[in-house]
Amino acid sequence: MIFTTYWFHVFAVVVVAAYWLLWRQGLRIWFLALACLVFHYHFAGPAGMAPIIILMIVTYAAGRSRRRWACNTAMGLCVGTLCLYKYAVFLIGAVVGPLDQGLAGHLSQSAVSLLPALPPLGISFFVFEFVHYLFEVRRGGEPIKSPLKFLVFCIFFPSLVAGPIKRYPQFLASLDQGSRQFEFMNIASGMFRIAVGFFKKIVIADNLNFYVTTNFPDFESLGLGERWAFLAALSFRILMDFSGYSDIAIGAAQLLGVRLPENFNWPYFAGSIRDFWQRWHISLSSWIRDYVYIPLGGNRLGLGRRVLNGLISFAVIGLWHGPAWNFVLWGLYHGAGLAACSTYSAVPVAGPLLRKVLQKEPLIGWVSTQLFVWLGWLLFFYPAPVAWNMATLLFTQ
């Protein structure tokens, strides 16, 4: 985790101090761009930086041209690059595998030998932000003219590794306003946010992680209460880990006067699946809504297409987390949950009745939502058969 490195702390202190000691806003932006490049180079290395820089140049040029075909081509290139680096082996197995196992094996081997062991650092975040930019410019948004500001938008170091996924109009407005003059409260509240993030990550998430890792091999022999405690630990671990990371990113940006979008809003208080996805990894779910679900037709093409579009969108959300079937299944699981959540009231008799009950007793909605979400984490973290077995054990002595 980059934020827990000593290097990050030293870097952040030096950069924030120097940034605010500079006497002109223009100089601050130049300095920030340079600092972001140093940060990216330090953690990604030249090989990890090169593909991102190329995509960045292509995205900038396509955006400046404002031509539809250029934006589409650039989006294709970005998504293709992401698929190549992160999903090539998975996609070969998924698409070619069922047709010809031998060919799939051969292609997978070639891909493994050609590609680096790990994809370039933060490539998913980069690609999602590039696609967002190109999409918005394609539909008439104002492209970023200044290459410097475009660079800062792309590799803004606090959000480089784990988001939140930024939107360029809000980011640039915030950068323009926030970098104008030093505001003490930004520093104070940014540091407080960072401290909260580290507490969540190091004190809570890392200990829960240890608990989960230690108890997982013995899950079957645990008592029923302990199995549920395990599930709770698993669920809070991912929340604390990820939201802690987001807090640090948001806090670090705040030190530079920039407001990043919120990523979490007490998701375990959600009373429905829809509510959950408005509170969990908000920057990703809103990105998927705007650039996958709505372009697919959203809820405009009838109930069947609405459900299908939702399932596709959630499969993409799942796949975004990594090239593995359990992530896809987790996404589809949530897609199905959301479909059920948004259509149940149309079921004759039972639908309206259930709706009334849930309105009268919100606790039922909350419990069932959290049960659904928490059980879903088993699918997220473990292969489907293991997850199924664990879920079964939660309901048997």
Partner: protein
């Protein structure tokens, strides 16, 4: 940021300058505390680094902390004997009250102070060696003791697990300049895989710690007040969060474990293979069943053993070279036993030619002196202590530490 948040609560009373000064003062206070706490020994009743105060339980003692352990146990008028090396010298298999180093202390008497800073799996030049070197001016009359197996010496920077101590001392300027080690450290820190953030960060962390002393501070908290996370050796709450001072030294006592439990058929088969190949890589057999050393075996060993310790420290370094449990060696063919003896003699000779003190042990040890293939029981520890005491006294005389 469009509109900065309006301060609320106590923040309304905070001025930017006050905040900055408060931050700086807080950091300075913590750094001072980190420095101050390690000036005193907090390991009351220390005998050795048992697992709960060792890296296997995520406790990495700092060099300052270990130096304080030494200072609290060695008077300026005593010859300091620091025991380093691996689990054999740590005394695994011997309970704390019957450790071989206690026997060694008794054998040497009050003119010497023996401090056991060995760790499981450590190389000869790991933690204990670093501490002894860091204390070379404070305790100029010192002898460092470690162990090796025939023809094998480690890297100039030891093994990864204990490198925290080396880097701690290195970046605090506590070590002698020694080119092989300096080059190895530099190459280790620069050989960057861009995703290995841990290694990338070691240098920055160690340099920061040399100013802020946060490792001392957290170890002090962890040992005396509260540990902050579960570890494989203590996974469950509330014990996982107990201060490490609450854990006693509970090493196994080989003498209380039946022979059949220690020497199961599977263990015997594995260890017999290890014993058979103990020195096999370094010699080839002649037609008359005698042995000729492999061409590069000695040169290679001399090269690495030369680089292992700085030249000025070699004379005060005693390397012990051990034999296997006779339970195994007796099962080997006579010519293999002869090869092992030859290898031990060659290794001792090579070490002495480089200026180290060197002594072998285990020749007249019985099966009861070993708890397994290489670790010693209490009786074996006593025999080792006798051998080491006699060698240490000789070295102390040669080094003019003690007048005969």
């Amino acid at each position: 940021m469009s509109t900065p948040e309006k301060p609320t609560g106590p923040a309304r009373l905070m001025s930017p300058l006050g905040f900055a000064l408060g931050m700086a003062a807080g950091l300075a206070l913590l750094a001072w505390k980190g420095r101050e706490v390690a000036a005193h020994d907090w390991h009351a009743g220390f005998t050795r680094f048992h697992p709960m105060i060792s890296p296997e339980a995520m406790y990495e003692p700092t060099v300052d902390e270990m130096c304080s352990i030494v200072r609290a146990r060695c008077r300026p008028d005593q010859v300091l004997v620091v025991i380093g090396g691996n689990s054999i010298l740590l005394g695994v298999g011997q309970p704390a009250d019957k450790m071989w180093t206690r026997q060694l202390q008794d054998n040497l008497g009050d003119r010497y102070a023996v401090v056991n800073l060995a760790f499981r799996g450590a190389a000869p030049n790991d933690a204990g060696a670093v501490v002894a070197e860091a204390l070379r001016n404070e305790f100029p009359r010192q002898i460092y003791v470690a162990n090796e197996i025939p023809f094998q010496s480690g890297s100039p920077i030891g093994i990864e697990t204990y490198r925290f101590a080396l880097l701690d001392a290195y970046f605090k300027g506590r070590l002698l300049p020694w080119k092989p080690r300096d080059r190895a450290i530099s190459s280790y820190l620069r050989a960057t895989d861009y995703r290995d953030f841990g290694v990338m960060d070691l240098e920055v962390g160690a340099k920061l710690d040399s100013w802020l002393y946060f490792h001392n501070f957290w170890n002090w908290i962890s040992y005396n007040y509260h540990f902050t996370f579960g570890t494989p050796l203590m996974p469950h709450a509330p014990e996982a969060f107990w201060p490490r001072s609450r854990f006693e030294d509970k090493e196994n006592d080989f003498d209380s474990i039946p022979f059949e439990t220690r020497f199961t058929p599977q263990v015997v088969a594995t260890d017999l293979n290890i014993a058979r190949s103990y020195t096999a890589a370094f010699y080839r057999q002649n037609r008359d069943k005698s042995w000729t050393r492999e061409a590069d075996a000695l040169d290679s060993f001399l090269r690495s053993a030369r680089a292992e310790f700085p030249d000025p420290l070699k004379r005060r370094t005693l390397i012990l070279v051990g034999r296997n449990n006779p339970y195994y060696t007796k099962q080997l063919e006579p010519e293999i036993q002869a090869r092992d003896e030859l290898a031990i003699a060659d290794t001792l000779g090579a070490l002495e030619s480089l200026g180290y003190g060197a002594v072998g042990y285990g020749r007249d040890f019985s099966e009861e002196d070993f708890g397994d293939r290489s670790h010693l029981t209490t009786s074996g520890g006593a025999k080792l202590a006798a051998i080491v005491a006699s060698k240490l006294e000789a070295m102390a005389g040669e080094l003019n530490y003690i007048k005969p």
